[in-house]
Symmetry: C2
């Protein structure tokens, strides 16, 4: 077996190739199971087949490449779809790092080094919450799939799967015994690395998040002829909840807490009509279970109290909840040692404010994550970017750390 | 000439016929220049032609029926299109009252009694603000038409006019010399008549209204990885303006003031993305010019002050402004006398909280308006309704008052 050498130019080349598929301004519009997304999934499958992997797209659109090696495998990868009109590296970077590591092992003849390459479906939540990785660990029911619709277009997931030729295809279930653990690389999507002038982030904890929808039901009416005291304005009822939350949350949160009102809808959303129905999404994230719990309780209390005084009916629905996940200390140590060798003093340990498939998989196997910087901290935006130098440095550290993880796990057997 | 007798069953029959065109639940979905809307405009034109009127649809979709009579005419009518998925009587009632009055005059051989029947285009503001009536008094430029788009579908007005076969058709201009004045009947769209248990409203003033858009420009970003203190959240910036306005407006307004935040948009409006752009519509209505002026100044002050402390750019745009309009005292007296005769003690004088084409036309001729009750005050909703008894009573008073207006004006010459 020769020395394993990744090809950084090939990494950049692949990333630039995929940037063209669904290109939007400087970024990409490639929602889950769109035509562009399906093209990219097949592209990855073909790449993996060409280096002797048994690859497939499973019944929920996970791309899965099984290594032919014996021994414990490393599960490596990330996701391929993007947010709507969003960035070119979010997800894809981690998939290409995994693919390149597999190719380099293959080219060096390292057939005993097992690395399975995955692209988890719908990490970006077009149809649900981490559907691909949750399906792989048995958390997604057929009923959930029946009910799932694209949050932008309303297209049912069943129909999208049918269009992609995936109807009736089996959904893969992971066997934890096959794996030593999982390793995901990702862009940071924040500005912490840049703020500390570091090139690599070694992730210790992925924050937990809870997402709620507050719904108000009032009475749609004419905005000119209905006196203020007779209105049942669902828009105002929702905004009144917002007002209270701004104060309540500010008093309960730490520096690592974030909360977001990202989505709001008034119906019928016309200037001259009092909204009869309104909805607002409230999302909270924190590395601490306790903080998440108390924010949720406060939200429930505020909605209940507002409901008592409001002329509208108010309701709070839980849309998703995920617990914070600690990364595996052994895998982190290997990653840190690799970073320390290749980029001495140029890395930090940090938390991930974003959720990732590594959080899902940490429920059944040791998991680990690595970040490269996002320029200006910008992400979920078509101007999202990372310097070529950081992309290449990340590829080298990812690949060396992955090989070390596999080697050590199999030595230990 | 025989006695002029309207046919109340024919009024109800026509209303029920038009309720079927674009039917939606109990109401109607018939936006301006939709297929259903164009059908109804042609229906009205044909009805008017059949009683010897010279009728046409002008270049902005006003339906205009010129009476063959000599002498001063009464301009009578209202509008045919509806709000989206809205009520069946809003607008149509006043058009059918005018049509029935013209038919009854025709059938009685009263050819010297001049009544022009109008259906003003786009009173509901799908493409602009009172486009039809404003065009008739010379207030709409070709440039405004070039820029106008359907607020729901985004279709350009030019394209909609082309589809309707109205491209290149001349827009009519009213000659005030032709008219003694105008008279519009409408459902109240509020609950004041019901509250006072009265059947007819004699309108004294149509309130003025001002509509603004507040726009915030921030930075779209990932909701998990961007700490609170680094965010430029356009959604929060808009909601902060809302919060201030709720307090400020409450201190400045009277019982007859209404203000509405009916329309709000976050971009991209996704739970996990910090909004980079947000917009909110603020609409205020009041019978007093002074109150409208001070509310506008306060809005400007709030937006300016918020802009100084906000991490986002804030801007306020004027979308429309209309002054309060007093109805003509002579025409009101005739209407009141008619109501007092047919429905003694069953009417009140009141203001109109909604804008109407009568407000536009009051700029060039004496104008008047009459209301019938809305059940539960409900309007701009598919359950909007008025009892058959009130519809018939309104038709009789409208028709008698219209004939009295025409007769008196021509006697006075």
């Amino acid at each position: 077996m020769q020395e394993i050498q990744i090809n950084c130019e090939r990494v950049l080349g692949d990333l630039y190739t995929l940037r063209e598929v669904g290109k939007y301004k400087n970024g990409v519009h490639r929602p889950t199971l769109s035509e562009a997304d399906i093209w990219v999934r097949n592209w990855l499958k073909d790449q993996l087949n060409s280096i002797g992997f048994k690859s497939k797209i499973d019944g929920i659109a996970n791309v899965i490449g099984y290594s032919p090696a014996s021994g414990k495998k490393l599960l490596a990868g990330s996701h391929l779809e993007t947010q709507n009109r969003s960035g070119w590296l979010d997800g894809v970077l981690g998939v290409i790092y995994a693919l390149e590591t597999a190719r380099a092992i293959h080219e060096a003849g390292g057939h005993e080094l097992g690395i399975d390459v995955f692209a988890f479906a719908d990490e970006e939540g077009h149809f649900g919450s981490f559907l691909g990785s949750r399906s792989l660990i048995g958390q997604v029911t057929e009923k959930e799939i029946d009910a799932a619709r694209d949050r932008t277009t309303g297209v049912p997931l069943r129909k999208a799967l049918l269009n992609a030729g995936l109807q009736g295809v089996r959904r893969e279930l992971l066997n934890p015994e096959r794996y030593l653990g999982m390793f995901e690389a990702h862009i940071e999507q924040g500005a912490i690395l840049e703020h500390h002038a570091k090139s690599i982030g070694v992730v210790e904890t992925i924050v937990g998040s809870k997402q709620f929808k507050v719904i108000a039901r009032g009475q749609q009416n004419h905005a000119g002829t209905t006196p203020m005291h007779l209105r049942r304005d669902a828009g105002r009822a929702i905004l009144s909840v917002y007002q209270r939350l701004e104060t309540v949350f500010s008093n309960l949160t730490s520096e690592s807490t974030v909360w977001t009102f990202g989505k709001i809808h008034f119906y019928p959303n016309q200037p001259s009509i009092i909204p009869g129905h309104a909805e607002m999404t409230v999302q909270i994230r924190d590395p601490s279970r306790d903080v998440l719990g108390s924010l949720k309780s406060e939200l429930q209390r505020v909605v209940e109290e507002e409901a008592e005084s409001s002329p509208c009916d108010l309701e709070m629905k839980i849309e998703s909840e995920s617990a914070p996940a600690r990364m595996d200390t052994d895998l982190i140590s290997i990653l840190e040692a690799t970073a320390a060798k290749i980029a001495p003093l140029d890395y930090i340990k940090m938390n991930s404010g974003a959720g990732h498939d590594a959080r899902t998989l940490s429920a059944i196997m040791p998991s680990s994550m690595m970040f490269v910087p996002s320029i200006g901290g910008l992400s979920h935006h078509y101007n999202e970017n990372t310097s070529d130098e950081h992309i290449k440095l990340g590829a080298r550290i990812y690949s060396d750390a992955a090989i070390a993880m596999i080697s050590l796990a199999n030595l230990n057997l």
